[in-house]
């Protein structure tokens, strides 16, 4: 079963994502900020991280860089989420090794599709 780590500071958005993904048979763990991300990645069999770029304290890019440096993203997919995905953001995400991006607000099927295509296990 695919396992997704959803990182978003808004409880409602996390819940919505969890419910959408669970309906598609995907297991979800949640993180309300970037601080707990390293521990959660280290302690769970996460396949894909869905990461909001706009986070309090540590922003999404820093979380991404830290996790990458710690070797926590090897063989794992990343989908970045933001209200503003412009061509610059998309290019930066690709350069940071992300497999996809999602614009807020999103439709349920867009989230599922983005997660599926970023899952290294599914792609293999």
């Amino acid at each position: 079963m695919t396992c997704v780590l959803v990182v978003d500071d808004e409880d409602d958005v996390r819940t919505l994502m969890r419910m959408i993904l669970e309906r598609s048979g995907i297991q979800v763990i949640e993180a309300p900020s970037g601080k707990t991300v390293p521990a959660l990645l280290a302690g769970h069999p996460v396949d894909v991280m869905v990461l909001d770029l706009r986070l309090p304290e540590i922003d999404g890019w820093e979380v991404l860089a830290g996790a990458r440096e710690a070797g926590l993203l090897d063989r794992r997919g990343v989908v970045v989420v933001s209200a503003q995905i412009d061509p610059g953001t998309a290019a930066r995400a690709e350069a940071a090794g992300c497999q996809g991006w999602l614009r807020k607000p999103f439709r349920p099927e867009e989230l599922v599709a983005a997660v599926r295509s970023a899952d290294p296990g599914a792609a293999a």
Partner: protein, 580 residues
């Protein structure tokens, strides 16, 4: 008369008294006279000459009378030398008179015209024959008759009247000013037998004088109107000369001004006096032009601004004698310029605060839209989950309604956000080379508005490649299709098709709604424009088409509205074709 002694002539033919060259002709005349001898004047109209004993010639007049018994002819010879000389003198005089540019005419003791030169004919317009015998008074304009008669009487009494100005009346009725000189004409016995008149046309002279007076008046007027006065400074004596206007500008009576530079400077405002004096000194010392603006305090304590400009006046050898300048009252001009500057400053401040308020409004709009999006998207997301999960049809229906409204609101917020981004000039486009059919169908899939109540009839030919920004095109198509859906009845088709026209791809979105009334067609692209009859329950902010136009224009295209003959509306926009 001839100088011959009697004895020398006796028995000689009469031809001895005639010059050699006329002798043979004379012989013929004599023979003819002998055939028909009557008394007559000989050689009338001929230039008859006598020959003196000393060989000299002289003019003669000869009369012949036959002697009654036919025995001979008596010839009476008159020496004409004096008469011929008089005639020549008269000829010279006539020539002088005729060649004069002044009109000359004579009158006898009764004031009747007896003579008239060519200039008189030109001046008065009459030929001599016409005026001969007229009273000369008739030549003068009626208003001056009495004076003229008086003058004429004085002249006939022996007085000469020179250059008195009067007016004559020409044949064509024109009254001309003349300078008239009247002098008596005397015969040998010194009796006055008439008067001669010399009339000179002084029209031009009069005009010149009038013009001079007028131009002087105009100069004064001009000085006064322009508030420009003139001044001259004598550097040696430190004295100044002012024009009339300069006294007026300073409000100083010429009698109260002693004409010294010191008196001039005394009228200058305390703060400006020393700088002006220094400027004047420098101009004199350096032989440089001077230009200054300064204040004066008038006698009534009013402060006025003056502008002055002067050039050095140079003497022989280039030495500076002084300055020659003009001076202008610029108080009103400065006041106007100050007022203008203040008004401009106020305007600038107002514009700045407006701009700041506008920027604040844009920022507010962007923030609010942005913050509204996430909760709206969450509502829409949850309602779709409820709808999908719930087995109770009533709950599913409610969830569907919640979701639809949330989507609609989300669409509005998206457009407002778009609009504020475009307003702020923050929309950055990244044009790509794209296949039109894939671009349009992708745009329709990505749009959040649901078009479930309409059938989309998409007909984009393959092979059209355009240069377009994907996001901008999504916005354009999304807005046009949701507008079409909003303004046409459910279950009517919305057609989306494309053609190539004039080297560009034209995409048309056509609905089968009521169409747009002609009077509103030009206004639909204005921002915040809303049709007066918005469909019930279909809200909008009035920015959709303004956004469309902006995005189309940013991509180098244009957008317009068409009204198909069979009803509905078609909105069309162009995208540039990619270079093959």
């Amino acid at each position: 008369m001839f100088g011959f002694p009697w004895a020398q002539l006796l028995g000689k033919p009469i031809e001895a008294l005639i010059p050699e060259r006329a002798r043979s002709a004379h012989g013929d005349h004599r023979e003819r006279y002998e055939v028909e001898p009557t008394m007559r004047s000989m050689g009338t109209g001929r230039d008859l000459r006598g020959l003196r004993a000393d060989g000299s010639e002289f003019p003669v007049d000869v009369s012949l009378k036959p002697i009654a018994d036919g025995s001979g002819v008596v010839a009476v010879v008159r020496d004409m030398t004096a008469a011929v000389q008089d005639e020549a003198r008269l000829g010279y005089l006539t020539a002088i008179i005729d060649s004069s540019h002044d009109a000359i005419f004579n009158q006898d003791r009764d004031g009747l015209i007896t003579g008239w030169n060519r200039a008189a004919q030109l001046l008065f317009g009459y030929h001599q024959d016409e005026v001969s015998g007229w009273r000369s008074t008739r030549l003068v304009a009626e208003a001056h008759w009495e004076v003229y008669e008086l003058m004429l009487r004085r002249v006939l009494a022996g007085e000469v009247l020179q250059h008195f100005e009067t007016e004559i009346k020409r044949r064509d009725g024109l009254v001309v000013p003349v300078s008239l000189t009247l002098s008596p004409i005397r015969e040998r016995s010194r009796n006055v037998i008439g008067a001669s008149a010399i009339a000179r046309d002084i029209t031009e002279q009069r005009m010149a004088l009038t013009t001079l007076a007028e131009s002087e008046a105009r100069l004064r007027e001009g000085e006064a109107l322009a508030h420009v006065g003139g001044w001259v400074l004598d550097a040696g004596t430190k004295t100044v000369q002012w024009s009339q206007e300069l006294y007026r500008i300073h409000g100083v009576d010429p009698a109260d001004f002693d004409g010294t530079l010191a008196a001039h400077l005394a009228l200058v405002h305390d703060d400006d006096r020393a700088p002006l004096a220094a400027t004047i000194d420098a101009a004199v010392d350096d032989s440089e032009p001077l230009e200054a603006e300064y204040r004066i305090v008038c006698t009534d304590q009013r402060v006025r601004w003056l502008y002055t400009r002067a050039e050095p006046a140079l003497g022989p050898g280039g030495a500076v004698l002084g300055l020659r300048g003009i001076c202008q009252d610029i108080t009103e001009r400065r006041a106007a310029a100050d007022a203008l500057r203040h008004a401009y400053e106020r305007e600038r401040q107002a514009a700045e605060s407006l701009r700041a308020a506008d920027a604040l409004k844009d920022e507010f709009l962007a923030t609010v839209s942005h913050e509204l999006r996430t909760p709206l998207a969450t509502i829409a997301g949850f309602s779709s989950l409820i709808k999908a999960d719930h087995s109770n049809p009533a709950v599913a229906d409610m969830a569907e309604r919640i979701g639809r409204n949330a989507q609609e609101m989300l669409g509005m917020v998206e457009r407002l956000l778009d609009f504020s981004r475009l307003q702020a000039g923050k929309a950055e486009l990244a044009p790509e080379v794209l296949a039109l059919d894939a671009l349009i169908s992708g745009a329709l899939e990505t749009g959040w508005s649901s078009f479930v109540d309409h059938s989309l009839d998409i007909s984009i030919p393959g092979g059209i490649v355009v240069v377009a920004d994907r996001e901008a095109t999504i916005r354009i198509v999304g807005n046009l299709v949701s507008n079409a859906a909003k303004f046409s009845a459910n279950h009517t088709p919305i057609e989306i098709f494309a053609v190539i026209e004039d080297g560009a791809a034209v995409v048309k979105v056509r609905d089968h709604g009521p169409g747009i009334p002609p009077e509103l067609r030009d206004r639909v692209f204005e921002r915040f424009f809303q049709t007066p009859d918005q469909p019930p329950g279909k809200r909008g902010a009035g920015v959709g088409l303004a956004i469309v136009r902006r995005y189309v224009e940013l991509q180098g295209g244009r957008v317009w509205h068409e009204s198909p003959t069979d009803g509905g509306s078609a909105f069309c926009f162009t995208l540039p074709l990619a270079q093959p």
